[in-house]
Structures are given as C-alpha cells and as structure tokens.
Symmetry: C2
Subunit: 480 residues, 2 copies
Amino acid sequence: MSQTTLETYFSKVDELKPAFIQRLSDAVAIPSVSSDEGLRPQVVEMAHYLKEQLANLGAVDIELKELGTQPPPVINSTLQLPPVVLSRFGKDPSKKTVLIYGHYDVQPALLEDGWNTNPFELVLKDDKLYGRGSTDDKGPVIGWLNAIEAHRNAGIELPVNIVTCFEGMEESGSLGLDELIEQERDAYFKGVDAVCISDNYWLGTKKPVLTYGLRGCNYYQVSIKGPGADLHSGIFGGVIAEPMTDLVRVLATLVNGQGEIQIPGIMEMVAPVTPEEEALYKDIDFDVSDLTAASGSNTALYQSKKDILMHRWRFPSLSIHGVEGAFSSGGAKTVIPSKVIGKFSIRTVPNIESAKLDQIVIDYVNAEFAKLGSPNTATCELIHDGAYWVSNPHNASFTAAAKATKAVWGVEPDLTREGGSIPITLSFEEKLKTSVLLLPMGRGDDGAHSINEKVDMSNYIGGIKTLGAYLHYYAASDTN
Amino acid sequence: MSQTTLETYFSKVDELKPAFIQRLSDAVAIPSVSSDEGLRPQVVEMAHYLKEQLANLGAVDIELKELGTQPPPVINSTLQLPPVVLSRFGKDPSKKTVLIYGHYDVQPALLEDGWNTNPFELVLKDDKLYGRGSTDDKGPVIGWLNAIEAHRNAGIELPVNIVTCFEGMEESGSLGLDELIEQERDAYFKGVDAVCISDNYWLGTKKPVLTYGLRGCNYYQVSIKGPGADLHSGIFGGVIAEPMTDLVRVLATLVNGQGEIQIPGIMEMVAPVTPEEEALYKDIDFDVSDLTAASGSNTALYQSKKDILMHRWRFPSLSIHGVEGAFSSGGAKTVIPSKVIGKFSIRTVPNIESAKLDQIVIDYVNAEFAKLGSPNTATCELIHDGAYWVSNPHNASFTAAAKATKAVWGVEPDLTREGGSIPITLSFEEKLKTSVLLLPMGRGDDGAHSINEKVDMSNYIGGIKTLGAYLHYYAASDTN
Ligand SMILES: [Zn+2]
Ligand SMILES: [Zn+2]
Ligand SMILES: [Zn+2]
Ligand SMILES: [Zn+2]
C-alpha cells in the first residue's frame, strides 16, 4: 500500500469520529448480558443490530448462525443460545483472508453496583467513553465496523477479504462456538489466512501491545469424605476424624506463602528462559506499582518488572479457590461437614504436558493424604482444563500489527503475554490451522468486568486506525 | 411418700395413655417452627395451646411473657418473639419449688426432606410415635402436663410447688430468655429450689441416663485479607500473596488428623481424670458401634468406650467448620478471594479458663501466620462463647431422679455428660443460684433435628412416670 492510502484512511477515521461514537453509543445501549437469561432477547437484538450494520456496510453472505438450546444449568430449558454473526467483505481469491473475531455480549452491570453513570448509556467524560462493553468487547467489534466504513467512505478498497465471527456468549463460556468453528472450518471459514482477535488490553496505560501468549489452566478438586451426614461438633468433635481437618492439611502442602508450588516435578517441565526471551522483557512498560494499583494492595510477591511478568506469563502458579461443602456463611455454625471439596488450579505454560501434570498432582495429593493416616477417604480429580497458547511474535501477522501500531502510535508495541486464558484463541489456531494475533484496543485500567468500564477516546479512535492499518500491512506482507 | 402413692400414680399414667397420646398429637399438629418467620403465628398458637391446657389443669398466675421484637437478621423487622409460658401449680411455702423448663418450638420439617409420614401428624408405628417435636421437645413438655393431670385425676397432691418455664425460641438461640430469667429471678422465679430440664436424650437406646455435664464452646474466626477485591487467578496467580494459601496453612497447624489439638497450653488446663471419675465410665452402656451407627461411618478416632466418652465429654476438641469469602459452590471458578475467614471452635471442659484460652489461641494463630512471612494481614478473634457446665451428680436433685428412674425402669441410670452445650442450663444455675438436673425422656436414636423424629411409646409413658416420681423423691429428700 502507499503511505497516502493510510493517511487518507486515518483522516477519514478522524472525520467520522462523531458517527463512530454514535455507533458505539447505540451498541452500548443494548444490554446484551449473556449470563442473564431474562436479557437473552437483548443479546439477540444486538446480533440483529450487527446484521443490519454489516448489511449497510456492504457485507455479503450474512448469517446469524443458531447454536441450539443452552445446556443446563438454565432456568428456561428451551433457552436459545444467541447466534454467531458471520459475514464476508470480499471474496477475491488473489487477496489474503482475515477472520476477525469479537463478542457482542457483555458482563452484567447495575447502577447500584457503584457505577457513576448508567452502565448502558455511553457517557463521554474527560476524553473517556464510559459504559458496559465500551472496551470489552463492543468497542473493538464496533471498531471493525468503523474501519470498514472509513474505507468505503474514503473510497479505499479493502486490502484483504474479511470474514466476521462475532459471538454472543463469550462472557458465559463461548457455548457452542468450538462446534461452530469445527463445522465451518471447511465451509464458511475455508481459506482463512489469519485470525485477529481484539479482546484484550494493553499491559499498562501508556504503551500499545501485541499479545503472543496465554497461560493454560488445569482445575482440580480434592474431595474428602467422612461421616454419612453433617454432624454436630458438640457430639462428635474429638471422637471422629473430621474431613475438614484433613482437607486443610492437604491443601497446605500444595503451595507456600511465596507462591512456590510444592509439588515436585512441575517446575521441571517448564521451558527454560532463553536469553532471547529474557531480552523481550527489558523494554516493556510495566512496574510493580502497576501490579499494586491493579490488586489494590501491597501484596506483590516480586518487586522487579521481569520477575512479576515472568511469573504472570511464563511460569506456572497454583491458586486455592475455596471449599465446597463446608460452612461458608457469616456467623458461627458448629457443624462438622461430612464431605468437603477443596478447589485449586494450576496455570500452565510451555512445556508442561497436561496429562503428565494431572498425574503428578493427583499422585501428590493422594500421597499427602495418606501421610495423615486418616480413616476418611479422599479423591483428587481434574475437573476442567484449557491449554496454554504461545505464538511466534515475529510472524507475518504480528509483524503487520507491529507496523500498524508504529504507524498510528509512533512506537513499537510491547510484545506481551497474559496470565489468563482465552480458550477460543487455541480453537481457532488448531481447527483452522492458522496463526492467531491478539491485537488489543483498550488499556489495562479500562475496568472490563468491573464498574465504570471505559475506553479512552484516543484508544477507540487509535484502535480503529490500527485495526485498519493492520489489514493493509498484512495484505502487503510476503508470506502468511 | 408412700410406695402406694407412686403405684397409684403409675397406674393412672397407664390408664390415661390414650389421652396422653392425643395431647401429644394435638401439640405436634401445630407446626411451631421458630426459625421460619412465616410460621411465627403457629409458634404463638402453640403458646396459647399450652396456656389453655395449663389453665384446665389448675395452673395459676399463667402469663405469656412477651420478649419484644426479634433482633436482626429478620425479614420482618417488627417480628415479635414468641412468649415464654410461665405458670404455677401450688404456692405452699412448706413445699420445695421445682422449675420445669422445656421448649415448645421445633426444628423445621418437610415431607420432601425424606420423612416417611407427615412430620406434623403424630403417627404410631411399631410402638414408636413419629412426628416433629415428638422427642424434642414437645414430648417432654406435654409429658409434664400429663404428669400433672395424672396427679389430679388420681387425687394425689403435687408434692412440690411447680413453676413452668416453656419457651418458644430454643431452636433459634433462646433469644430473650436470659434476660427473662434475670428479670424474674427475684420475682416469678423467687424461691425456686431446683431446675429440671428435660431436653436431651439417653446416650444409647437401652439404658436411662441422668446428665450432669456439658462441654462449653469457644468459637473463633481468623480473617486473612490481601487484595482490595477478588482477583482473577490468570492475571494475579503467582504474583501476589493469596489469602487462601495463608489461611489453609494456618488452619493446618491447629489440630492433627488424630484430633489432637496442636496449640500448646490448652491440654495443660484440663482437669486430671480422678480414679473416682474413671470408675463412672465402667458401667455405662455404650460401645464404638454406637458411635459408628450415629456418625454413619467407620471414622472413629478411638475404639474403646472410655476413650470415646472421655473425648466427647471431658476433653476439649477443635473442629474447623469452614471458610467464608472463598469460592464455595459446585463447579470451577478461577477466583483469588481477597478476604477469607476461617471458622473453628474449641469445645471446652473443666478447668479451661475461657479468657486464657482465647489469648492462647489468638497468640498461636498470630504466631503461625507470622511464620509464613506473608504480606497479607491476619486477625483472629473470638466470635461467640458458652461455658461448660458440670454438676454434682450426687446432689439431692440427681439422687431423687436416680431413685425415680430405678422405680420406673428397674435400673440405676447411667450418669452421663454431653459433648455439646445447652447454654440455658448454666443461665438457670448461675442466675437462680440453684442446681440444675438434666432428666431426659427420649433415646439416643430419636432423630431430634433429623427426619423421622420419634419417641418410643415406652419412653413417652415411662418418661411421664419418671418426671412425676422425681417430684416425689425430690420432695422427700432431706436437703436441696
Ligand atoms: Zn471480552
Ligand atoms: Zn470479558
Ligand atoms: Zn430441644
Ligand atoms: Zn432441638
């Protein structure tokens, strides 16, 4: 592409800014909360809103793909899942094809949770756009529509074929999406060269990032069972073996107060840090104060940037989440719970083998329980897992995104990973056999999932420019 | 008294059996569940039922003592506490005065909980009377009315003055009762020589008991606070100190799998076992199989009768009840809870000093937390305590009850203690400066607080005889 093309595009984005704010405002006004069954019609309304917008922008083959009824637990057993919005812009076999993914559902939000303004009304204040979904993930989804509109309006041909895949259940486990990707991989999604997901955030508040890695998560539970029913501690305290006593003693052996996993054999599977990888951390814009601000406390386990980021991104961690079956309310209840289930999970990283990890964990828990000599019975099991994902941050798609970022923001983006998982990333990569890029629009302090969610105006407009520019640089790249 | 008097009384009880079953049936039919605000009118109805019955039996000075509105948490902030039913039979200054305590409220019960029959309909099957409250505590309360009726009907003068104190909130913490005892100690309760509480059970199913001791209970919580809000374990796992990690490590130091309290200084306060006390255990009808049956599991910490009973009755125990603030539902949630509150309690026995115990426990928890070197903050506090109670099982009241038991059942009762607390026992003893006797009617397998609660017909009728006979033997005793 010529530099003029991009400049024309950027100018058009600036020119259309009022319309782009209005479009985001219209989207935020639809309370498409996927976890609230009563708001399911609004989630579906949001899908229809997108369909109409896409049609106006010239999309073809628009389909609202139905995913069937929502599996239990649900209140309404015939509740339909919201549809996935598929559409295309262009089918030129000489162009590359980019699949853009986003989600049009949002987290719940109530004014009384502590919002300063109505969460379903986009409010501009101090150059920030407040509203539920402004950054997660209506901002990016509407951002793509805006990027396409700016091209049309400026008379610039889209440099790639685009396939949209906008889902409405991301905040509720992306139910049905895996199956859809599988089903459409040789149909609607045939010929996709790259996937771009804009559903995460800059690490901090100042510097753009591209994200090339996510940790996985293996979630376990250890169930300890004793008496036939809950007992009264007055009558049975001191004369029977209590499952809760055993459970805290087992859980206490998993991880120490410094966050070091105590189960032998796990750290040994972690890929060694190479000098090349180590160098990536040097320029990243991050400081312990960012962690302190985000956690709302001075409880960091590490003080240096590199230690913190490495432990968030490339080392495993073990968290104990809670106990099912024990007393969990306020006040005092003198119960001996008959069966307690401790929940913990391990965040996984390369090169931890998931099945081997499960075996190591289960064997260790069983051995620690055996040491107690308790007459109770214990079972440890995996209840959920999701693999880690690491991409090559120097492939064609990442390189194009880096150039786009530089063109818009004037700086090289930081190459980051994230501690959590976005399971759909791996699904796209594995099922479509293609590379996936995480190209965020918002900042680390946007408050996704929290009260007073916002997107900075500069990130919204800069994000629209970046998404569009990425398409041009990717189109111009030599290889996939 | 003459032996003839007792025989006449016993015959009359047998003769009136159909009427006594009908009276219990009428009482069980009123669902006086004190924990259910919606059933409060039925609790009050039960008080009025008792008032009418007492009036018919010749009671005087009948009062339904109002205790004011129920303190929070309540749904209805103007909810009135059910009244305490006070009445007298006789005011003869030459006679001793016995206060009889019982409660007319019951535990909740629903057919769908697993009852074989409607819980609020007394059903006779295999010589057992099934129904909510049959043994706890409508059986004993109605039993007292029956004992009085049998005296009237047989023309036998009551050998003592009786004061009734029947409350309607026992299953919900006896709210307001302490204050009433305090208020009436020099008024309605003036001149009371002995208190008889029939609200516990035989140890097993074959041999009658008198109960002379109860353990106390000091209930603690340890709160560990870290981040400002719950965090996502993907983003924060491995980089901040997690309160739940600290909590399980602290809780794990409190007690071992053999039920041995690990906090130094507590066992040192326990009164030594004397040979005299040890001898009391020899003849008690109890076996490890009773414990196994009651707990529904083979998880006993001791196998010998003496070890089990001593650890239930006269040694302290420590139970961990649960955790507030952590994830406690089914399934998997990847939360790092920001503040978790571990709950545990210690059952106390002579000569543990409550205030000293609190200090020892709190200091120990603080020291164990300090060992973790965690940047989180911990607080340990007492949230509730109730003192232990031990009486002289050879005083006049106990001796009279033993003779009554022998006269009815043909055996000497076992002298037992209980592992739990009945806080009102100590209130009566301390506020009225009098001795308290626990004289149970039902058996250990009656299922109080459980489904299919019952009282054996032989215990109901034998209990009525025992309660009445106790009054005669106590009246005839030389001393208080
Ligand atoms: Zn999102
Ligand atoms: Zn989200
Ligand atoms: Zn009771
Ligand atoms: Zn009860």
